[in-house]
C-alpha cells in the first residue's frame, strides 16, 4: 500500500505538464471475476485499450459481454467480491490497488461517469442544483463556496441545454423528464472538468429524439472539457455517429478493434459482421436480409478452450476449437485494425463487404412477399378498425370528495384500420398513447369515445360470449417476454393456456402444442421446461407460439423486439415475417424503433400526444415524410454507417413531450416543431389556433397536377412539406 501512496504522491497532478503523446487512459490485460454458485464468473478476460485526450472510444457488445464491468473497474466501483487483475493507468498513474479514499479523489474530478438510468443516478430528496453543487464542493477545495458552486451549477445546466436554468436548478429530479435528468447527470459529470468521461449506455433508457439531444450534449461536453470519452453501448448506430474508435467485445474479450470507419466498412471478425448484419437499417428497408446470430453467448464460468464465438460462428472449423485466437492486426487493413479470428484472411479475400457479406455468410434471406399483396388494399377485409378512439384518464384532486380537475388525454381521436394480411406499424415516443391504444383494443371494452371494430363486430354491445369469440382472433405479444410468461408454468401449459381458456379438448391441445413449438422454431423436447431456462429470443418465440395457438387473424405486437439483443432481435423479426407470409396474419406492430418498423411494416402511423400525425405506406412515409415530427423522428434514428451518419443532417427537437393532461392548443406539436420556428407570424397563429385536420398528402412530384392527392398517405399539418432525412 505504501508503495502506491508514494507513487501517487509523486504523480499528484501528472499528465498536464507531461508529454502530450501519453494516453489518457491505458487499460492493460484487465481481468475481472466474480464468485458465483457455479464457480468464478470471468466477466472480463484480458481487455486492453487506450484512450487519448479528446478521443471518443466506443465499446460495443451484447448484454453480458463485460463492457459495463470493465468500465466499473476503471471507476473502482466494483463490489469487494470482484477480483481484479491487470493494470489501469490514468495519465500514467496506476488506479488498481488504490484505496477507496484515494479513488474518491480521482472519481468525479478526473474521471466522471454517466450512468444508464438517470433516475437512479440522482438522489430524489435533493434538488438538482444541490447535487451538482455537491459535486463541485466535494472536489473544489477551499476556494469554492456554496454560492459560487450554486452559480456554477446554473451555468452547467445552461450548458447542457436545460431551458430556464436559473429556475430549474431548484427543481427536484422527479420534476425533470428522463432526457433532462440525463442532461443534469452529464452536467454533474463535467462539473469538475474531468479528463475522462465514461458513459455507460447513456441513451438506452431514452426516446430516440431525446437520445439525439443527449448525444449532442455529450459532444458539447467533450468540446468544452476536452476530455476523452468511453462510450459503452449496444447500439451500433450510436457508435457510428459518435465514436472515433470502436472495440467490439464478446465473452469478456475484445474481438475486434479499429477506427469506426474500418470496423463498419470492413469488419474482419464474423461476430462483428453478424452484429452489423442483424440491425434493420432505416435507409434500406424491406429488401434487407436480417442476419440472426444463432445460439447465445457462452457462460463465463467454465469457458471451453478455443474461440468463444465458435459455436455460433458460420465459419467455424475444427481449428477454431484448438486455442482462443489472439487479437492480431487484420490482414489487408489499416495497422490499428485488429481482429481475433483465425479466418480473417478469408473474410478479407471475400468479394462482398459489410451487410452483403454478412447475409451471405450467415445464410440470411429476404422473406418473399406474400400473394395477398396482389389484391388491392381497398378490396381486402378490414380486420381491425379504430375510429376516432378517445381515452381520457381523469385527474382527481381533493381529499374525501375526489372531484375531477382535468383529464390526461392519452388517446385523443385516433383513426386507423388494419386490413387482412398487412402490417401497420404504430410509432411514437413514449407517452404518445400507443400503448394505451392497444390496451383499449385488447380490453374490448367500450372506449371513452369513438369506436373499435374487430373483424366486423363493434366492441360496444358485445356480450360476454361474443367477446370470448373475438379474443380467439385477436392475440397479443408483449414487449418483455420474461414478464409476460408466468415463470411458474412449464412451456406446455403456457402454450396450452389460450386453448384451455377457450375450452378446447385435451387431445387437441396435446396434439397442437408440439406443432406450435415447431412452427416458431422451438424443439419439442423443450416442452417440459420452464421459461427461466430459455434465452430472451426463445421466450419471445414461446409468446408468439402462444399467441398463434388459436389461429388468430390479427396479432398485436407491443414492441416485441425492444427487450432483446440485436442479434436475437433479427431472428424474431425474421420469424414474424415468415409467419405473416405463411399464415396470412395481420399485425398491428407497436414500436419506437423506426428502423424495425421500416423492415417489417407495410404501412406506418406516427403518433404524437394521442393523435396520429402522419399515416401511409412505409415506403412513401420514409422516403418522403411530410409532417415535421415524422421528419424529426426519422432523422434522430442513427444509421449504423459512419459515412452516412456524417453526411446526414440532424433535426434536433427542442424540449420534451408536453404533458398530455394539458396539451398545447391548435397543433399539439407546435411547441417543439422545427418548422414552426421558420414560419411567419400569421402562419404561426394558424398553428396556435387551429388544430390541423388529417388530410390526404400532396404528391411528392413537383409537376403533379394541382389538386392531386396521394391515395393512402395522410398528414396532419397546415404547412406539410416534404423533407428527405434518411
Amino acid at each position: 500500500m505504501t508503495a502506491y501512496e508514494a507513487e501517487s504522491d509523486v504523480l499528484a497532478d501528472p499528465g498536464r505538464a507531461g508529454e502530450p503523446a501519453a494516453p489518457l487512459l491505458e487499460v492493460a490485460d484487465l481481468e475481472v471475476s466474480f464468485p458465483s454458485e457455479d464457480g468464478r464468473v470471468r466477466a472480463v478476460r484480458g481487455l486492453s485499450y487506450r484512450v487519448s485526450p479528446g478521443e471518443v472510444l466506443g465499446i460495443v457488445g451484447e448484454s453480458g459481454s463485460g463492457k459495463s464491468v470493465s468500465s466499473l473497474a476503471v471507476m473502482g466501483l466494483l463490489p469487494p467480491s470482484a477480483r481484479i487483475g491487470g493494470s489501469i493507468r490514468l495519465r500514467g498513474q496506476e488506479l488498481l490497488g488504490l484505496s477507496d479514499t484515494e479513488l474518491s479523489r480521482i472519481r468525479g474530478r478526473r474521471v466522471a461517469m454517466v450512468f444508464q438510468d438517470p433516475l437512479s443516478a440522482l438522489t430524489p430528496v435533493y434538488t438538482v442544483g444541490d447535487q451538482i453543487a455537491e459535486a463541485l464542493l466535494v472536489h473544489g477545495g477551499r476556494s469554492t463556496t456554496a454560492s459560487t458552486a450554486r452559480n456554477r451549477a446554473v451555468e452547467l445546466l445552461d450548458l447542457v441545454g436545460i431551458p430556464n436554468a436559473a429556475e430549474r436548478v431548484k427543481a427536484f429530479p422527479h420534476e425533470f423528464s428522463g432526457g433532462m435528468r440525463q442532461r443534469a447527470v452529464i452536467a454533474m459529470a463535467i462539473a469538475n472538468d474531468p479528463d475522462l468521461i465514461i458513459a455507460d449506455e447513456p441513451t438506452t433508457a431514452l426516446d430516440v429524439t431525446v437520445q439525439a439531444q443527449v448525444l449532442e450534449v455529450l459532444k458539447t461536453a467533450q468540446e468544452v472539457t476536452g476530455a476523452g470519452i468511453v462510450l459503452i453501448t449496444h447500439d451500433l448506430g450510436v457508435v457510428a455517429g459518435t465514436a472515433d474508435r470502436v472495440i467490439v467485445m464478446y465473452a469478456g474479450k475484445a474481438v475486434e478493434t479499429g477506427t469506426v470507419d474500418e470496423i463498419f466498412a470492413t469488419p474482419r471478425m464474423p461476430y462483428t459482421l453478424g452484429l452489423l448484419g442483424s440491425i434493420p437499417r432505416l435507409d434500406v428497408g424491406r429488401g434487407q436480409p436480417l442476419v440472426p446470430i444463432e445460439g447465445q453467448p457462452p457462460s463465463l464460468v467454465a469457458l471451453p478452450p478455443g474461440c468463444p464465438f465458435g459455436p455460433r460462428c458460420p465459419l467455424h472449423e475444427p481449428a477454431c476449437d484448438a486455442a482462443e485466437p489472439e487479437l492480431l492486426p487484420a490482414p489487408g487493413a489499416a495497422p490499428d485494425h485488429r481482429a481475433a479470428c483465425i479466418r480473417t484472411g478469408e473474410l478479407a479475400a471475400a468479394d462482398a463487404e459489410g451487410g452483403e457479406l454478412a447475409a451471405e455468410l450467415f445464410d440470411a434471406h429476404v422473406v418473399e412477399a406474400e400473394p395477398v399483396d396482389s389484391a388491392t388494399r381497398i378490396d381486402r377485409e378490414v380486420v381491425l378498425g379504430v375510429d376516432r378512439l378517445v381515452k381520457h384518464y381523469p385527474v382527481r384532486a381533493g381529499g374525501i370528495f375526489r372531484r375531477q380537475v382535468g383529464a390526461v388525454q392519452a388517446v385523443d381521436g385516433v383513426t386507423f384500420d388494419v386490413r387482412a394480411g398487412e402490417t401497420l406499424g404504430l410509432v411514437g415516443e413514449s407517452g404518445c398513447g400507443k400503448s394505451t391504444t392497444i390496451m383499449e383494443i385488447m380490453g374490448l371494452e367500450p372506449p371513452t369515445g369513438g369506436s373499435i371494430q374487430v373483424l366486423g363486430s363493434q366492441v360496444e354491445g358485445l356480450s360476454r360470449a361474443d367477446r370470448k369469440r373475438i379474443r380467439r382472433d385477436l392475440q397479443i405479444v408483449f414487449q418483455d417476454p420474461m414478464a409476460s410468461l408466468d415463470p411458474r408454468l412449464p412451456v406446455r401449459d403456457l402454450i396450452a393456456e389460450p386453448m384451455e381458456v377457450q375450452g378446447f379438448d385435451k387431445a387437441h391441445i396435446t396434439r397442437r402444442v408440439p406443432e406450435l413449438m415447431k412452427l416458431v422454431g422451438l424443439r419439442s423436447e423443450q416442452i417440459n421446461r420452464y421459461p427461466g431456462e430459455f434465452s430472451g429470443g426463445q421466450r419471445q418465440r414461446i409468446c408468439i407460439a402462444r399467441a398463434l395457438a388459436l389461429e388468430p387473424k390479427v396479432l398485436v405486437l407491443d414492441e416485441p423486439v425492444s427487450a432483446l439483443d440485436v442479434s436475437i432481435q433479427a431472428g424474431v423479426l425474421n420469424l414474424l415475417d415468415e409467419l405473416k407470409a405463411r399464415l396470412g396474419l395481420a399485425y398491428l406492430f407497436v414500436a419506437h424503433d423506426l428502423s424495425v418498423v421500416r423492415h417489417i411494416a407495410d404501412r406506418v402511423a406516427v403518433m404524437y400526444l394521442g393523435k396520429i400525425v402522419e399515416i401511409g405506406g412505409v415506403e412513401e412515409v420514409f422516403a418522403a415524410p411530410q409532417h415535421p415530427y415524422t421528419q424529426a423522428l426519422l432523422s434522430a434514428i442513427p444509421v449504423p454507417d459512419p459515412e452516412v451518419e456524417r453526411r446526414r443532417e440532424r433535426i434536433l427537437l427542442t424540449g420534451d413531450l408536453p404533458s398530455p393532461a394539458n396539451p398545447p392548443s391548435g397543433c399539439r406539436f407546435r411547441t417543439r416543431c422545427q418548422l414552426f420556428a421558420t414560419l411567419g407570424a400569421d402562419q404561426q397563429q394558424r398553428c396556435i389556433d387551429v388544430e390541423p385536420p388529417r388530410e390526404s398528402a400532396l404528391p411528392a412530384e413537383p409537376d403533379a397536377p394541382v389538386g392531386a392527392h396521394l391515395p393512402d398517405h395522410d398528414v396532419a399539418c397546415h404547412w406539410a412539406r416534404i423533407r428527405t432525412v434518411v
Partner: protein, 332 residues
Amino acid sequence: MTTTDVTGGTGKSVPTGGANPVDVPLDAIEAETEGVTRGTLVLRRFLRNKLALTGLVVLALLYAVSLTSPLFAPWAYDEYDYLSFLQPPSASHWFGTTQIGEDVFAQTMRGLQRSLTIGLLTAAISIVIASVVGACAGYFGGWVDRGLMWIVDLLLVLPSFLIIAVISPALRGSSWILFVLLLGLFAWMITARILRGMTLTLREREFVKAARFMGAPSGLIIRRHILPNMASLMIIDVTITVGSTILLETGLSYFGFGVQPPDVSLGTLIRDGSTAALTTPWLFLFAGGLLVVSVLAVNFIGDGLRDALDPNARRGRNVREDEDPEVEVERA
C-alpha cells in the same frame, strides 16, 4: 444479394428465416415431446427430492404409529400403573412412567396424534382463509379489498386470546375440532395481508394481463397464476404455523382451553415434563424429540414442495453440475 425462398433454402420446414431456431442447448433431460401439465411436472420434481420424500415418509410413519399404538401398546394413555411411579424406561413401560403412574409411551403417542392433527389442521385452515382473502382482496381491489381488509384489521386489533377466553365457557365439553377452528380463525390475518400485497404487484405483471386478454375468468387467473407465484411464502407460512400452533395450544391448555386432562398433547407433555428435564429426562425428552422430528419433517416437505413449484430452484432440476444447460451451447 441472395433472395431465395426461406424454407427452400434450408430444406427444413422450420420457418426461421434461414436460421435454425435454436438458441439453447440440448441437455437431453426429459427428452419427451409429449408435454405434461404443471401438476405432473411438480409431482415429478417433488418425488426427485430425497429429503422431502423422507420428510413425507417420517410424517406418515409418525401418524400411523400414533394412531395404531393402542393396538399394540401394553398401556392406554389414561390408565394408571399403581406399581410404578416415576420409573425410567423399561420393558413394560417403554418410555417410563410419570409421577402418578401413567405410561409415558401411551401418553406421547396420544399427544403426538392430537398435536399433529391440531398443527396441520390449523395451518391448513389458516392458509386457505389467508390465500382466498389475500388473493381476492388484492386481485379485485375496490370494495372487495376494503371490506376484506376491514375484517382483517378488526380481527387483528381484537385480542384473540380474550375472545377465546370469552367464548370458551360455551365451548367447554365440546370437541377439540371446534378448538382447532378457533385457532385457525385467529392465525390467518397477517399472512392474508402479506399475500394481498404480493397479489397487488402480481396483478400488474404482464402475464396476468395476458391471461386476462385471453379471456380467462378471474377465478382461473387467481388459481393458475396468482397463487402459484406466492407459493413459496405460503409454504413457509404453513411450516411455521404447524410448529407454532403446537406450542400455542400448550399455552391455551394451561389456561383451561384446548386439550384438557386426562387427554394430552405434545405441548402439555412438554410443559409438564420440562420442569424435571434434568432429573427425570424421559418425561420430557421423548415428547420434545418427537415434536422436533415432526416439525422437521413438515419443514422438509415444505422445502421440497417449494423447490418443486419454483422452476428456478436447482434441487428440482436434476441437472448435474457439469452439464449445466447454460454452459453448453449447441453447435450450429
